[in-house]
């Protein structure tokens, strides 16, 4: 193969590679648009008795002081649930129900007040732009992902 032919071959491969990347990225956006969760997954509502006390976007949660711990080899980091509830004016409660989209899990976790310790956090799921509930006392099976509501009673 001559140098000129090799040059053409390499250019063709480069064009195919760039096209493959564009198809991959475009396809990902298309899949998300068709299968992805609704926008409500990117915000967390704090409610009591059906009344909304506050709503926080993931960016607003990110701006709060975060707590960090390691569990099952993974770092979990996010604002303390207690701090979020106190900021929303819901610091006084007996029971907390964490509600998520329920796509990968049951979508509901009920915690009594004494289980909502400072190290129970709303961990940021970086690839998803949502939060999940995590804590040293919460097992992987109990986790609620894509949290949309913190309901206090």
């Amino acid at each position: 193969m001559t140098e000129h032919e090799q040059g053409i071959r390499r250019r063709t491969i480069a064009i195919i590679a760039v096209a493959a990347l564009l198809v991959l990225v475009g396809g990902a956006w298309l899949v998300e648009a068709n299968l992805g969760a609704p926008r409500e997954a990117s915000r967390v509502r704090v409610t009591r008795g059906g009344r909304e006390l506050a709503t926080y976007t993931v960016d607003e949660l990110r701006a709060m002081e975060t707590v960090r711990f390691r569990q099952l080899g993974e770092t979990q980091e996010g604002p303390s649930v207690r701090a979020v509830l106190e900021r929303a004016g819901a610091g006084d409660f007996d029971r907390l129900t964490v509600i998520g989209l329920g796509v990968r899990d049951t979508g509901v976790l009920v915690l009594d007040r004494d289980r909502v310790t400072e190290d129970i956090v709303l961990d940021f799921a970086e690839t998803r732009g949502t939060v999940k509930i995590a804590g040293p006392s919460i097992t992987r099976d109990q986790r609620v992902r894509d949290v949309t509501e913190l309901r206090v009673e």
């Binding site: 480069a14 590679a17 991959l24 899949v31 796509v103 990968r104 998803r128 949502t130």
Partner: protein, 190 residues
């Protein structure tokens, strides 16, 4: 020193295997220790792809990238973990294989910034694709995986490209340092 076409020799030398093992450890450790506060999916690819590219460009042999990816993946199972559990190694193997393919199709020109940028982007995208396939195989619903997929694919490509480009910078610095051991490795003398 006479240059040897290392891509034609089959077996790895002990020296090459040691270099690949050290770089594989560096990949796994960087993934576990370097948590850049960027909050963007795929950002670790900027470092990870740079190390992979340097490894594949130094050990210019078929399957060197695959081996590098496989070893770093096995180490990652032990020290990093992830959504994929014990199958997390697949996520490391895929970009290594893509590096090999890039090296093969480019005529071993991974030290060219344009080639490296493109191969880095493809490799980080391959990592995301492998992760999605493993997650689907593990029964994680597609609807769950689709959340944030568009931005994840975009940032994986961008950070992978950045990693590839960084890799060529590191290679250029290594060559400028004229370390005999590295020069011998590139020319196939060891």
């Amino acid at each position: 020193m006479a240059a040897v076409d290392t891509t034609r020799r089959r077996a790895f030398t002990t020296y090459e295997l040691v270099v690949l093992a050290l770089l594989a450890a560096l990949i796994a450790v960087s993934k576990a220790v370097l948590n850049l506060p960027l909050h963007v999916p795929g950002h670790s690819g900027a470092i990870w792809m740079a190390i992979l590219l340097v490894g594949r460009a130094l050990v210019r042999r078929p399957w060197a990238g695959t081996l590098l990816g496989l070893v770093s993946g096995i180490l990652a199972v032990l020290i990093v973990g992830g959504r994929e559990g014990l199958l997390v190694w697949v996520k490391y193997l895929a970009p290594g294989m893509m590096m090999d393919l890039g090296g093969l199709l480019s005529g071993e020109r991974l030290d060219n910034p344009w080639v490296a940028t493109l191969v880095g982007a493809l490799s980080n995208a391959a990592k995301l694709t492998a992760s999605l396939i493993v997650s689907l195989m593990l029964g994680i619903p597609a609807g769950y995986l689709a959340v944030g997929l568009g931005i994840a694919a975009t940032t994986h490509v961008v950070f992978g490209a950045l990693g590839g480009w960084l890799g060529t910078l590191v290679l250029r610095i290594l060559r400028r340092l004229r370390v005999p051991a590295i020069e011998a490795l590139i020319s196939g003398g060891r």
